[in-house]
């Protein structure tokens, strides 16, 4: 019998509580009134009554309850080795293919170790039975991938192993364990897992409970580490005027020591390094910096002159006195993002653009150079690609359900964003002053959905008077963000393709003509802020990031393409008719080409992979796990056959009586109540 959490055994001392209660509880005799003590004499209470363990049955029930609670938390289990000792086992061999495995000779070590495990048919303990075990090879980068089928013949797996190369992506140990657990749940035989990895501290999930599994019978880690160090850099660059570039860089010097050792030595260890900024031809700027082990240092270049107008990216490199075992992250290409106004189109459906509302909207959008506005009457077809977002003036329906025109709907469904401003038609207005109760009163903004990410709660809506609104019938799926004081929907978000994976844009419908007559919204300062928030909210859906980690995906709308650094398109033409998430696995400058232009996207080695700090052997993974290094401090590879194993007991090996603990606990509690009521004469009549 063993316990997954021996600390819970400490709870067993809680049984002392009932024992003390029953053993030493000095029960004072009950007090009884009597007319006179004239004929009474004090009786000496026998000592045996005090020292006797009283109410044995009640004590037993209470002890049973405490024991059940402790066992419930401790989750005791018995190994099922006795049951399955004569049966076969499955072995999953997982090799870490994350970017950090490119460090030094980690990858050859890992391949050799995995190969030996595959050839030996799994772990040593399984060989004790003499039965041949089935093995399956997996590799881990951003996700777990299987190579070859689960088979008794390891040749296929070894062949697949020889084809593998380390990736540029980051490993996620927590996700891997959950995936392995799910795979193990499908197997009828006990599953052993052998994981060959460099055990980076940064790859461990913050919540270690994600590492817990239920269906894996044993888990073994084969660690490949050497005393390497790594210099890495990441950066971002931007310019406002197209000439001066501001570059922010993070530089890290990490060593392969354990986190405990590195913490104690980081203060003492430091190196001198230099960060260079250059283009293809020459060096533009450089800075010297002193780096401390495993501590990120930020260096800013305030103004680097862009060597040419057409320069899309700059190179940032770090070099120093230390050995750089992982070269792929010490030099990166950084796209220079240009902060330009957002291009917003303005159009009207089946009519000319109304002059006054357009003036208000134009003024608000161009404030602080937020946006640049282009006007286009009756935009159709490809004209919608002339701007990033659109403001559409639409005649308000006369009491009918709100229906957006087909061209607006198709534009939004293709990923575009639009603000629809309803325009008045003669005779279709609600006089908000009448519904406000008195002709002299004006309507106002009633309820505001402050939880919406549009940030409506940050604006001052109290000073806005609403005089006229259009009678609107909204769909059930519409989200009314603002209602006027008479309950009429004032600002509505229409949701497209709810629950569908296809990417669509955002639509807001404003039930206000914005002519300064139906309300004083365009005359208030809140209008400028609100307009800016709407455009930024729109822009967040279509703006592409400047940088991604290798292994992450970018969501592309229909018709958009992404070009790899070597000029190869990553999307198949057949799939370009719909929105799609494209995983970018190679570092370098990628180009996202859309109908509205192209965008440079830098893909870098994940920052977590740059940090080579490994975990301490005694705290890694789950308690009870014994690890073995196949590479010592001197960097020599030991034979994987010497790998020892201590299986981790999981829920699969636990005895079924664990599920009876709860009923036992409930029954003991019930019986304790019944016995206590009877033995201790607990009255329930309130007297």
């Amino acid at each position: 019998m063993s316990l997954l959490f021996p600390a819970f055994l400490a709870g067993l001392v809680a049984w002392l509580g009932p024992w003390i209660l029953h053993r030493f509880n000095r029960e004072d005799p009950p007090e009884t009134s009597f007319p006179s003590s004239q004929f009474l004499e004090p009786t000496r209470v026998p000592e045996s009554r005090k020292r006797k363990l009283r109410h044995i049955d009640l004590f037993g029930l209470r002890t049973l309850f405490v024991l059940a609670v402790c066992l419930l938390f401790a989750q005791p289990s018995c190994t099922s080795d006795s049951l399955s000792s004569n049966s076969q086992r499955n072995t999953f061999v997982v090799i870490d293919r994350s970017a950090s495995m490119q460090t030094g000779d980690r990858w050859p070590q890992a391949v050799e170790a995995a190969r030996e495990v595959l050839r030996s048919g799994g772990s040593d303990s399984s060989n004790l039975t003499g039965a041949s075990n089935a093995v399956q090879l997996f590799d881990l980068s951003s996700e777990l991938r299987a190579h070859a089928d689960l088979s008794n013949d390891a040749a296929q797996a070894v062949s697949a192993l020889n084809q593998l190369q380390p990736s540029f992506e980051a490993a996620q140990y927590g996700r891997m364990m959950q995936q392995l657990d799910a795979l193990a749940a499908r197997e009828s035989l006990p599953v052993d897992v052998v994981f060959v990895t460099d055990e980076q501290q940064s790859n461990f999930p913050v919540q270690r409970r994600l590492l817990r599994t239920q269906h894996i019978d044993s888990f073994e880690v084969v660690r490949v580490t050497n005393s390497e160090s790594n210099l890495s850099v990441r950066a971002s660059a931007s310019t406002e005027d197209g000439v001066n570039v501001q570059i922010s860089t993070d530089v890290l010097w990490s060593t392969a020591q354990s986190s405990q050792d590195s913490a104690s030595q980081s203060d003492a260890q430091s190196i001198d390094a230099t960060v260079f900024v250059s283009d293809e031809n020459r060096e533009l700027a450089s800075k010297n910096v002193q780096l401390f082990a495993n501590k990120t240092q930020r260096i800013a270049f305030e103004s680097v002159i862009l060597p040419g107008v057409n320069v899309q990216a700059l190179s940032v490199r770090v070099a120093g006195d230390a050995n750089d075992s992982l070269a792929i992250d010490s030099e990166i290409q950084v796209p220079v993002s240009k902060r330009e106004p957002i291009l917003v189109g303005m159009t009207a459906v089946d009519d000319a653009i109304p002059e006054t509302p357009a003036l208000f909207v134009n003024t608000a959008l161009t404030t602080d150079r937020l946006a640049r506005v282009v006007s286009l009457d009756n935009a159709t077809g490809d004209a919608w690609s002339a701007a990033q977002h659109w403001v559409v003036f639409l005649k308000a329906p006369q009491g009918e359900p709100l229906v957006l025109p087909d061209n607006v709907t198709s534009y939004v469904e293709s990923g575009g964003n639009a603000l629809v401003v309803l325009q008045s038609q003669p005779g279709n207005l609600n006089d908000a002053t009448e519904s406000a109760g008195s002709p002299s009163d004006t309507g106002y903004v009633g309820s505001v959905n402050t939880a919406h990410p549009l940030g409506l709660g940050e604006l001052n809506w109290r000073d806005i008077s609403v005089y006229e609104t259009h009678p609107l019938t909204v769909n059930l799926t519409d989200d009314v963000l603002i209602r006027s004081s008479d309950g009429t929907p004032y600002l509505i978000e229409r949701l497209f393709n709810e629950g569908n994976t296809r990417r669509s844009g955002r639509v807001l419908v404003l039930n206000d003509s914005l002519n300064g007559i139906s309300s004083d919204l365009p005359l208030q300062t809140a209008f400028v802020d609100w307009t800016a928030q709407v455009i930024r909210w729109f822009d967040a859906t279509t703006a592409y990031p400047d940088r991604l980690d290798a292994g992450q995906s970018v969501l592309l709308p229909a018709g958009a393409q992404v070009i790899s650094p070597d000029g190869q398109p990553l999307r198949e033409l057949a799939g370009m008719s719909a929105a799609e998430a494209v995983v970018l696995r190679e570092p370098g400058i990628h180009t996202v080409a859309t109908r509205s232009g192209s965008h440079a996207l830098s893909v870098t080695v994940p920052w977590v992979e740059s940090n080579l700090t490994s975990v301490e052997a005694d705290t890694a993974w789950q308690s009870g796990l014994v690890e073995s290094d196949v590479a010592g401090d001197a960097g020599t590879v030991s034979t994987p056959n010497a790998v020892s194993e201590t299986p981790i007991l999981t829920d699969a090996a636990k005895l079924p009586w664990l599920s009876w603990l709860l009923p036992i606990m409930a029954l003991s509690l019930l019986a304790e109540n019944l016995v206590a009521n009877r033995r201790l004469r607990i009255r329930r009549d309130g007297l």
Binding site: D28, P29, P30, E31, T32, S33, F34, P35, S36, S37, Q38, F39, L40, E41, P42, T43, V45, R49
Partner: protein
């Protein structure tokens, strides 16, 4: 003492008790001294139908009382004298110590209240004077004997105002009352009689010597005589508030013998003093106890 509040007679005069009393009278078996004509025999000659004696006529005697038949036969003048009937004074001594606040279904104090009220009602109907002295360690309230019409109401008010509390000093109260009584009459003691037995008996003796007719109503609860304690308990004295841890075995044996001996001693002392000893249990019907006693008293020769 002023009357605190007017109490409804039905509060303490239980209908079943009064119905049980019927036409019974509480008549003194000894000669009592009173100022008015009543039901009781007086030590003085009076105007009853019962002949007492002849006395030689003396000058100044009323000629209406001369027995002319005797004078015709003997030629001597004799005065014919008859026994006198008088009313009497009934003094009730009521114990309101803390020990009286005990018993089920009614406490001893409640039983004593009903008993006292019933006696007051009986005395009032006989037109005798009724006095009440409520005491514990001291005199709580005192009503001198009176046959006034509102006496019953005042008695009820005093009964209502008194609360059983504190200890008791029965011998002192008896001694004080005996010193105040100047005329012979009835003295009624209602108490649970806790205290030194010898001192109690000694305090009752002056009443017998003074010709007072003493009636002792010993109010007890069944739990006092036959305790049912079945576990070790801390017994709290209702008078002194002291706590004594007593085992059930003691209650079953020693205590019972002691309380029986105490009750027996008091009863024997009462018999020796010519007093009536009536044990009133709280779980027994009060009308039955009172009716039986009064009936027995009527049939018993004086």
């Amino acid at each position: 003492m002023s009357v605190a509040e007017r109490v409804s007679p039905s509060t303490y005069l239980r209908a079943d008790v009064l119905a049980g009393l019927g036409s019974l009278d509480l008549i003194a078996r000894r000669l009592v001294e009173g100022a008015m004509v009543g039901l009781h025999r007086s030590p003085k000659f009076g105007f009853s139908q019962e002949f007492a004696e002849y006395r030689a006529y003396n000058e100044g005697d009323d000629l209406r009382f001369v027995d002319w038949n005797v004078y015709a036969r003997t030629d001597r003048a004799y005065i014919k004298r008859f026994q006198g009937d008088t009313n009497t004074r009934v003094n009730v001594l009521l114990d309101c110590s803390g020990s009286m606040d005990f018993g089920e279904p009614v406490t001893k104090w409640q039983t004593a209240q009903y008993l006292c009220a019933a006696l007051a009602y009986l005395i009032k109907n006989q037109h005798d004077a009724f006095g009440l002295n409520i005491f514990n360690t001291h005199t709580v309230s005192e009503l001198p004997p009176s046959a006034s019409p509102d006496r019953l109401q005042r008695v009820l008010s005093q009964l209502h105002a008194a609360k059983p509390e504190s200890g008791t000093d029965l011998p002192a109260s008896l001694t004080a009352l005996s010193q105040r009584l100047t005329q012979r009459g009835l003295v009624v003691l209602i108490s649970d009689l806790y205290g030194d037995t010898d001192a109690l008996i000694k305090a009752m003796q002056p009443f017998a010597h003074a010709g007072q007719e003493l009636m002792v109503f010993h109010t007890l609860d069944r739990e006092e005589l036959e305790p049912t304690q079945n576990r070790i308990s801390a017994i709290k004295d209702l008078e002194t508030q002291e706590k004594v841890v007593v085992a059930p075995e003691y209650f079953a044996q020693t205590y019972r013998s002691k309380i029986q001996a105490h009750c027996g001693a008091v009863e024997q002392a009462c018999v020796g003093l010519g007093a009536d000893y009536i044990r009133v249990m709280t779980d027994e019907p009060l009308d039955a106890v009172l009716h039986a006693y009064l009936r027995r008293r009527e049939t018993r020769p004086s």
